[in-house]
Assembly symmetry: C2
Homo-oligomer: 559 residues x 2
């Protein structure tokens, strides 16, 4: 055996399962026919996602899964296992280096200032994430405002995984090594770059590559499908399945990062699915968006079919996740702005639940009990240690300190406990399942673990009080929201009030103060980026430096 | 052993050596400081290619290596092992499907008619090459004028090679599967598409991706290097070396298709190398082109260094080749048009030697004798069976009939014979080496084997009698040229007249007639595309249907 190449031990085995990370962009927690809440909401009736329902019946749903309010912080955290605020990557990166998206934005030659009149944006790592192997190449790239770390996929590749990137990357802007998925440990790379959304999903638009009209959002590597009638979602799925042929033939374990551009803007129809929504009475905008959602869901179904067809479903993990909440300012999504993620409050960019709570599922045959729900909160930085544990990689040497906790035990033991409780008749409804507390002693993750969200930026040019300049802390059922614009602290009980309508801070001043202190300590310890008040030139106060509301001086409640 | 994964046998071994195919674009046979001829010509003094000299000292030079007159026929033939004329791919493909480059040209929305006033271009497979796996997908791609075949790299990949594409692809236009290197059997693909040249080599131009200025020639996947001061040639080399890390770490054999865009137009300086040429008195244009050539040579040197540094030089084959002769109509190359490949006549697009004779070398440690020359002619379709033989792949099932012959025995035994002759004092000069005939009984390839060249197109809008609408046949020392415009047959003795200045057809009417008959038979048997005479609507006569010149009615000799 001493002479054997390492490959002999590298075929996909129960110890080295295949892993498909199915990541959707800007996809809201309620925008699916698979209800993650206690009730079936209007959105759950509007959208049609049969393959998400199918995956849920095969695996477990995480009903309290979180991401950052915008894309790049989540995506870089997935790659580094670090807390996004600690990384200093708190906003989406722009298309080109040295152009902070909140101050300049866009590609060279364009201006799109997102700065607030009231606050100057904080300094942050606007050049986002760069693999640490390039740290010395300052003469080549001249990078500053950059986080250097070891990308997770490098560890998977070096452990023998066949690593495939498909779709959106958005770890860093053009002009930096982080813009190149091949620098992240991917062997195969399809259509990924520094762009945060596609210029077009449509083959007749050449996915944004019409000569003289292209820009840094034009989708690369897809020339095969120009004018083919194949929508980008389907084209990416076809490319992913073709790429999987090699590791399957070679009997190597694979990691497929299936990172759809959908359902990010531009909101464009998928002709395969739109008619039923028009027939159901949705307006053109809403129907277009619903067809995008179903198009994404079809991709999931095609991949599940492929797994079965290839006989690998028994040894393949599928993780479903979204990089942030659904857009709530996209007028062309249909519906009224700020309401598009109901029952959740607000959407992308916001630290209210609409911006950060996302759909998540884990399918893991033989390990995770099917048709179950887990309500212990998990967050983006947990994926790094989780995926490495799934891949049987227990020891690794990385540049960064990992902040996340593995949810492997939670997914396995938690789903088993939920299945047992269901069998024993203790869980009968979605509400029962969502209320079923899993003890840390069994799952390894404390359901009261504090999760921090921090967005010291203005998301859009127009001030949006419920979206811009917010921080938040979740602890068990409680959620503290800090509104930097006004210096207000708000407290919500998410178990009773998932829509964050009833601010109970004044009624719970001690808890509010305690959580504000905890949030402030964490932000300080991470050297969190904070905006500056233009009028004074001073940084915005920390959440534990503002007054805690009391009953007597309670402000008028936000509607 | 029965339980072992196939990988155990797949590490690079003497039976499965690594293979680097280093392909240069539009690179002329004389545009190097490494002389392939009998003498040192002016071009050999003008250019500086120390790493080609280095490779020649490590391996063997093929002084009579041929390619097609333009890019796509050579490149598709490399991939299929078929004769380009038989494939019906006789011209470069345009940027978009259904737009023959000789009739419409360019991307949608542009017009660039290359049609001749005298001849209408032949029907040909202007949608070029499509991997046979897509033959049934007519509803998706709606392809016609397409050659379906099994791509060579698929066989390498399926035999366990780690296959890497870097740089120019140009097997087929956008809108077809052949535009995607991943469909050719490549696992890693960097910067390849349907484009035939880069919009720019310069990082400050974003390699042609400046927003609003990009088109189908913009180079993809290189965003990392925008504004980095890294020239495209160096960027591609860096990407290739990064990609090689994985198979080297995994102990897998690799196939690297290192396909430089250089030295195709646009003629742009590489700042690392230009000054010495300006100092030497070259004008700006000539210096720019010389810097591109040296930039390409530097890439070769970097890869040779890398091989040594990684300890893989002992088990890695390097093949050096160009896809057609040097450009002779590029005014910005410096020098006078039509003279840029001297001593060879004409250049790219032409069936005179300047268009088809290309530099070629093979390094194969322990198998090919170093510092030797082989003068047996070889041609593009020979690479398919040769590379598969190098990779130890002896049996394969492909869609097409392979026309080429493996030159493995020729390279091995031929170089050994040459080395012995040198040692024995029989070869003292370059001319001796170039005249040293290798018998087919020893090498497997008949030095008198007939090679056909066929270009039934107009290369440029302006009629260029010495470039457009030519066919040619090489047989041993003899070369027949058929000029369709005038119906003239010309005969040259290449041993005495490498520049094709002395037409000896009239002095050798029997040989001329015999070679014309052979050329005509071959073109007929391949159903060769032929232009149509506009005045008559009839196809151009075959070479054996026109009068053979005789002494009595000899025409005035072409100067």
């Amino acid at each position: 055996m001493a002479m054997m190449a390492p490959w002999a031990a590298m075929a996909a085995t129960p110890d080295k399962p295949n892993i498909i990370f199915f990541l959707v962009d800007d996809y809201g927690w309620s925008e699916t026919s698979l209800p993650f809440g206690n009730d079936i909401y209007a959105n759950n009736r509007k959208f049609h996602t049969p393959n998400m329902e199918r995956l849920a019946s095969m695996g477990t749903m995480f009903t309290n899964a979180y991401a950052c309010p915008v894309s790049t912080p989540t995506r870089t955290s997935l790659m580094t296992g670090m807390n996004a605020t600690k990384m200093g990557i708190t906003n989406f990166c722009s298309l080109f280096k040295d152009r902070p998206s909140d101050a300049i934005g866009g590609a060279p030659g364009t201006t799109n200032p997102n700065e607030s009149d009231i606050f100057a944006n904080a300094e942050w790592n606007h050049n986002a994430f760069c693999p640490v192997q390039f740290q010395g190449d300052t003469d080549i790239y001249g990078l500053n405002h950059t986080l250097y770390a070891t990308p997770m996929v490098e560890l998977l590749r070096d452990a023998g995984y066949y690593t495939i990137h498909v779709g959106k990357a958005h770890w860093a802007p053009a002009g930096t090594p982080g813009a190149n998925p091949l620098n992240m440990g991917f062997m195969v790379q399809i259509a990924g770059s520094g762009n945060g959304h596609p210029k077009s999903y449509q083959p007749e638009d050449y996915f944004g590559n019409i000569p003289g009209e292209g820009d840094f959002s034009s989708v690369q590597n897809m020339a095969q499908y120009y004018d083919s009638k194949i929508h980008l979602n389907e084209a990416l799925t076809l490319e992913a399945m073709k790429a999987l042929e090699t590791p399957i033939k070679r009997n190597e374990p694979f990691y497929l990062y299936m990172s759809h551009y959908s359902v990010h803007t531009p909101i464009q129809r998928d002709n395969r699915f739109i008619q039923q929504y028009l027939d159901a009475g949705l307006d053109e905008n809403a129907a277009r968006y619903a067809s995008m959602v179903e198009s994404m869901d079809k991709s999931l179904g095609d991949i599940l079919d492929y797994m079965e067809h290839k006989g690998i479903a028994d040894n393949t993990i599928v993780i479903f996740y979204s990089d942030n909440g659904g857009h709530c300012l996209a007028y062309d999504k249909g519906g009224e702005p700020h309401t598009q993620n109901l029952p959740l409050r607000e959407g992308k960019g916001s630290c209210y639940e609409g911006g950060i709570r996302v759909p998540m599922m884990v399918y893991w045959p033989g390990k995770v009990a099917p048709d179950t729900r887990i309500n212990t909160p998990v967050i983006n930085e947990d994926f790094f240690p989780s995926i490495l544990e799934m891949a049987g990689i227990s020891e690794y040497d990385v540049h960064q300190h990992i902040d996340g906790q593995s949810f492997v035990k939670l997914a396995q033991r938690g789903s088993q406990l939920a299945a047992e409780a269901k069998k024993a008749g203790k869980i009968k409804t979605m509400a029962d399942a969502n209320a079923f507390i899993l003890p840390a002693s069994e799952t390894g993750i404390d359901p009261e673990r504090e999760l921090v969200f921090h967005y010291p930026h203005q998301y859009r040019v127009e001030d949006q009080d419920d979206i811009d300049f917010l921080s938040a802390l979740r602890r068990g059922d409680w959620k503290l929201v800090y509104r930097m614009h006004t210096g207000d602290l708000e407290l919500y009980n998410l178990r009773e009030d998932i829509g964050e309508r009833n601010n109970v801070a004044a009624a719970n001043p001690k808890l509010t103060a305690d959580m504000a202190k905890s949030l402030g300590s964490k932000l300080r310890s991470w050297n969190a980026s904070m905006p500056t008040v233009r009028a004074t030139g001073l940084p915005v106060a920390m959440p534990d430096e503002v007054p805690v509301p009391t009953q007597s001086k309670k402000k008028s409640k936000k509607k």
